[in-house]
């Protein structure tokens, strides 16, 4: 009996350690972009608009790095492309049990620069996250994950589209900046 308990708690400890170290990486995905920060964000926006038949609309463009710079600190550029599809969000918001998932809305894709000077795109692993909330959420999030792949599909032969500076709620950015911050 002692050995069973020992094994049980060892298992918990082992998973806690492994989970602690890998959960972050599993929940997010990171891809290198061949373009600069603004052009990458603009291409993602164009891809989102191209999926309007899936209900997708741009809902904002934020720059948290602008807020941080306004507070006096140097950080590389970060742009948050926000989009929402009522086709996917509607069913989730309709029910009490899943309405809390509005915390994940709008769908946000982050574009940022790292110390190597390259641009990266980060997305939430929608497919994996969906699986944690039951079959209904999972089926919706699987579709979101599919669309996310399309958002990140870049055709370098196409000219760079303009960056659409959509302000969430139409308000002015933090610190009077051009883009909304955090």
């Amino acid at each position: 009996m002692l050995k069973i308990f020992a094994g049980f708690f060892s298992g918990i400890a082992l998973v806690a350690i492994v989970g602690w170290n890998t959960a972050g990486g599993l929940m997010m995905t990171e891809h290198e972009s061949p373009f600069g920060v603004e052009e990458t964000a603009a291409r993602i926006q164009a891809n989102i608009q191209a999926l309007s038949d899936h209900g997708w609309k741009l809902s904002g463009l934020r720059s948290p790095s602008v807020s941080v710079a306004a507070a006096g600190q140097n950080v590389p550029p970060v742009l948050l492309v926000e989009a929402c599809s009522t086709k996917y969000s509607g069913p989730l918001l309709a029910e009490d049990a899943t309405r809390i998932l509005s915390i994940l809305m709008p769908c946000t894709i982050t574009v940022y620069k790292k110390d190597d000077g390259k641009t990266y795109v980060g997305t939430m692993n929608a497919g994996l996250m969906g699986k944690m909330f039951g079959s209904k959420v999972s089926s919706i999030m699987d579709k979101v994950a599919e669309d996310q792949k399309a958002f990140l599909s870049f055709d370098a032969d196409k000219p760079a589209p303009p960056l659409i500076k959509t302000r969430p709620g139409g308000g002015k950015g933090a610190g009077g900046q051009e883009l909304s911050g955090c």
Binding site: G7, G11, L14, A41, G72, N74, P77
Partner: protein, 550 residues
Amino acid sequence: MTLLKTISAALIASTMTLALAATGSSFAAVDSAPAATQPTLEQDAARALASSTADHTKFEALQADFKNGPEVTRACLGCHTEAAKQIHQTQHWTWEYRNPDTGQVLGKKHVINNFCTAVASNEDHCSACHIGYGWADREFDLTVEENVDCLVCHDTTGAYKKLPGLAGHPNYETMEWPPKSGRLRPPTDLKKVAQHVGKTSRKTCGACHFRGGGGDAVKHGDLDSSLETPARYLDVHMDAEGLNFNCAKCHVTDGHEVAGSRYGPTASDTNGVQVRGANTHRNPATCQACHGNGPHSGNAKLNDHTRKIACQTCHIPAYARGPRHTKMSWDWSTAGKLDEQGKRIRTRNSIGKVHYDSNKGHFTYDRYVIPQYQWFNGKVKYTLFGDRVDESGVVKINEFLGGPDDPDARIWPLRVFRGKQMYDKGLKTLAVLHTAGNDDTAFWKNHDWDKALTAGMKAVDAEYSGTMGFVETEMSWPITHMVAPKEDALKCEQCHTKKGRLAGVDGVYIPARDRIVFMDTVGFSVALLALISVLVHGAIRIFVSSRKKV
């Protein structure tokens, strides 16, 4: 059976733990604060007047209705009798510098660059950034005192602007500016400007130095108009609400000679603090001139770094950190394409900057740019017109010299601007292009390479061979502005890692980037032996303990 139960229990626990972990999340919020506020031109002028001992509005010589710039200069020289003579000795005036190390004759008048290629044949445009009037061609007389433009550096009104194409003059009549914009620029009120002169400012220096290469933030990367009223994060010295340094605070001026030049830069300064006013003949525009040789108080290890690393390497973690994007490359080889109606094409990138122009070719831009790093001892060798180039490789327009064994060399951050530009295939030399002007040979007028190159080469006394090609080029600048607050300096791990900032710099041992195989082998062997000893010791104790129970 016991083992099976143990594994089952572990799996159940794992699933429960994962399910619990999945429900947790955390968010961080960042506060924001307003950026530096921008003083009005009137406030600037009032401040300038308050610190001056002369009110130029009261000067009789400045009551005239000046017709042109040289008339104003004549009035200035009535009191400031030696000013033009001093100016005539400076690089700002001559656009010429003889490098004592290499013997090369440099300066804007002579070098080739990978932007518009050269001043020669384009003087009437380029001289919008010359501190003189009338430099329209090579016949310009550099000895005439009235040709000195006092106002471009001493204006405090912000209303004085020298426009390209006017040979260094401001507009004296109403003119459309920018061309074909439909916007009319009224004649420059020379009297008002002349009556409101004062000390140089970030705005006056920036009128040229923030806009080199044809526009704001184009050329230097660490100098752009965001430095007119920068916030602290952008430049800790120039912070408009903090130290509020103007350019002359570091670039101390004596007899109109401004200290600090990219043609003769100081790569290392081991002479410590320089007392202002001391006649040392040293460059006062170095970090050490104010901060000394051991600026990191109480941190000997950081001070040690200064023997190999320029201050700028750590304290300017990136350039173009403000809101402006700097130009990163210029590809002339695609220039000259016109639309179906034979009209000029201009396309813009995602942020609205021109990324293709029939007149100029393709550009790329970037912001928050990580510099390149290399050894630099202050000596720069230029590829000048007439020097043979190897078209199979990348031509370095200027080469920064120095290596790890050179006591004067430090590891410096550089901005490297990449181009693809014209060269004369017959002469095997970089070519000079006549770009701007209203004549039939200017490339921006006719898009005819042969005509424009013939005219450009003629301006440097060469005969165009008739065959041209494009060659890849690089031009570098040491990064030295946009100094970040100390808390934003590079962190140890940004260099002390295998793929860190200094991954490409040879000749120096950097712990964590480099390894000594023998030392590593000994160290890891000791650690491994210790681990094995612990495991063996534990196993023996468990074994002995279980035997005792039996």
